[in-house]
């Protein structure tokens, strides 16, 4: 499923006056790809995701999922937040089953077992989130979203608080999961390296203009020159 933004603008009213965070964004995020939005902290990356998720209304503009306009929260869109937001009172398996139970899905146990195995948490199904490490919590958040088989997965700097090794493992896991899930991913980060490793397409969100610009798209053969892409992104970010 493809995601489309049409003239999306978000203006916040602050005591100091009006603050334009997103300015007339129009963009197509094509199906089955990892789209990475890169930008400095505070440029409005999270605002963009919360608008797509239906949690915040844009000041103007529309969001479409294929040709259907999104006017609120949709179960076809999964979100992994920066702070993960796990339910502390639910065990790992119940956190994963939360959304399935809400929509009274059949075969909940099978689905939960399958996704926990995919993210390597099958031996921790009976644990409470507080007993998990940072990397495991992050995998749990991923499992909780993916088990609902969302058409679009929004990821808001989910690996930001992880150490380098765990972060690399998480990148590998995301890329591996992508191979069998066909979910379109919109991944927000301020880390150039992360953008290069994960992105099929990379966009820069400018804090000055509030515009979103596509700066890189991976070749059809899937290859990329990492150093070259990093240099390109650095140039574009400092423009």
């Amino acid at each position: 499923m493809a995601l489309k933004l049409s003239h999306v603008t978000k203006i916040y009213t602050t005591p100091e006056g009006k603050l334009t965070v997103l300015n007339d964004l129009t963009c197509d995020f094509t199906q089955d790809k990892i789209h990475v939005v890169l930008g400095y902290s505070g440029v409005g990356k999270t605002t963009l995701l919360t608008i797509i998720a239906g949690l915040v209304k844009p000041t103007s503009g529309k969001v479409f999922l294929d040709d259907k306009e999104l006017t609120g929260v949709s179960t076809e869109i999964g979100v992994i937040f920066q702070d993960l937001r796990l339910f502390p009172w639910l065990k790992v398996m119940d956190n994963v089953a939360f959304g399935l139970r809400l929509k009274k899905s059949p075969d909940i146990k099978t689905k939960v077992d399958k996704i926990l195995t995919a993210v390597g948490l099958q031996d921790f199904a009976d644990y409470y989130p507080m007993k998990l490490s940072g990397g495991m919590k992050q995998r749990l958040a991923l499992a909780r979203s993916l088990v609902l088989e969302p058409k679009i997965l929004l990821m808001d700097e989910p690996f930001g608080s992880l150490d380098v090794i765990t972060r690399h493992k998480s990148h590998d896991l995301l890329l591996e999961i992508r191979r069998f899930s066909h979910t379109t991913v919109l991944f927000v980060t301020h880390d150039i390296e992360e953008a290069v490793v994960l992105g099929d397409a990379i966009y820069i969100l400018s804090g000055v203009s509030g515009q979103l610009t596509k700066v890189y798209e991976r070749n059809s053969d899937g290859g990329r020159d990492i150093t070259k892409v990093k240099t390109l992104l650095l140039e574009k970010l400092t423009d």
Binding site: L55, F81, D83, F87, P88, W89, G99, L102
Partner: protein, 266 residues
């Protein structure tokens, strides 16, 4: 297991040994005050006389009956307040219009001393059970509702957002997120309010009853039996303390994910 930090050490539940040491220290001070400082027995009875009285009371079936009556009263009155107060508190904390209408009344009720209601309740219901149950209900309800609504309002917006994204509707947010999230706090609020209800009941029994622990206090006072008075006061505190400790234990079993349970483990 990592070493507990300063915060964790401070809030860790007290161990049985520390409670025992604290109790022994208290008894030593009592012994010193009654034996060495020679405080008049009407003011402070001898520790041995009082402990002897406690021993005698423990085999007294009539007292056991009075304690049972008091416990049943507090369970009925406070239990009713919990049954009404918990759901009302959650609705209060989640539905603004309900809060706007009822909050001033509950706030006013909160500031009315329980003792001031006793004459009216005796007039309405006599010295029987109904008046006491109503008193406990009326005293506990506003506190329960206001504290629980405050807990419901403090549920992280982030958790509500993620539940919405996972497909929760308004009713499910209430039952699947708000209620389980605040359950440990609700339990603790009930635990604290139970203590207050117990104290209120003893007061009500002192002022108008012909059974119950409070009534026994009146009898002991009438016959100027100070060791028995002290023993009964001690017993009323002990009963509340035991129930409180039990509720604390149950808290850790019911909510193993809560901060309190975690602190008990470190």
């Amino acid at each position: 297991m990592t070493q507990p930090n300063r915060y964790e050490r401070y809030f860790k539940p007290l161990s049985f040994v520390s409670l025992l040491v604290s109790l022994l220290l208290f008894l030593l001070i009592w012994l010193f005050a009654s034996r060495v400082l020679n405080i008049h027995k009407l003011v402070l009875p001898d520790l041995a006389d009082t402990l002897n009285q406690v021993f005698l009371m423990s085999s007294n079936k009539q007292l056991l009956g009075d304690v049972t009556v008091s416990l049943l009263r507090v369970i009925a009155g406070f239990g009713l307040a919990v049954l009404v107060g918990v759901p009302l508190g959650v609705i209060f904390g989640s539905v603004r219009s309900v809060r706007l209408i009822l909050e001033p009344h509950l706030n006013m009720l909160r500031f009315i001393p329980a003792a001031s209601l006793i004459p009216l309740l005796i007039l309405w219901f006599g010295v029987g059970e109904t008046g006491k149950i109503v008193l406990l209900f009326v005293r506990a309800l506003p506190y329960l509702v206001l504290y629980i609504s405050s807990a419901a309002m403090s549920v992280e917006k982030d958790l509500l957002e993620v539940a919405k994204v996972l497909g929760a509707n308004q009713k499910q947010l209430l039952t699947k997120v708000i209620l389980p999230r605040i359950a440990p706090q609700v339990w603790d609020i009930c635990r604290i309010e139970f203590g207050s209800s117990w104290a209120t009941l003893i007061l009500a029994e002192v002022l108008g009853a012909n059974t119950g622990l409070g009534y026994r206090l009146v009898l002991a006072q009438r016959y100027i039996h100070v060791p028995e008075l002290f023993a009964l006061i001690f017993l009323s505190g002990l009963i509340a303390l035991v129930i409180d400790a039990l509720m604390g234990f149950v808290h850790r079993k019911l909510f193993p994910w809560s901060e309190k349970a975690r602190l008990a483990e470190v």
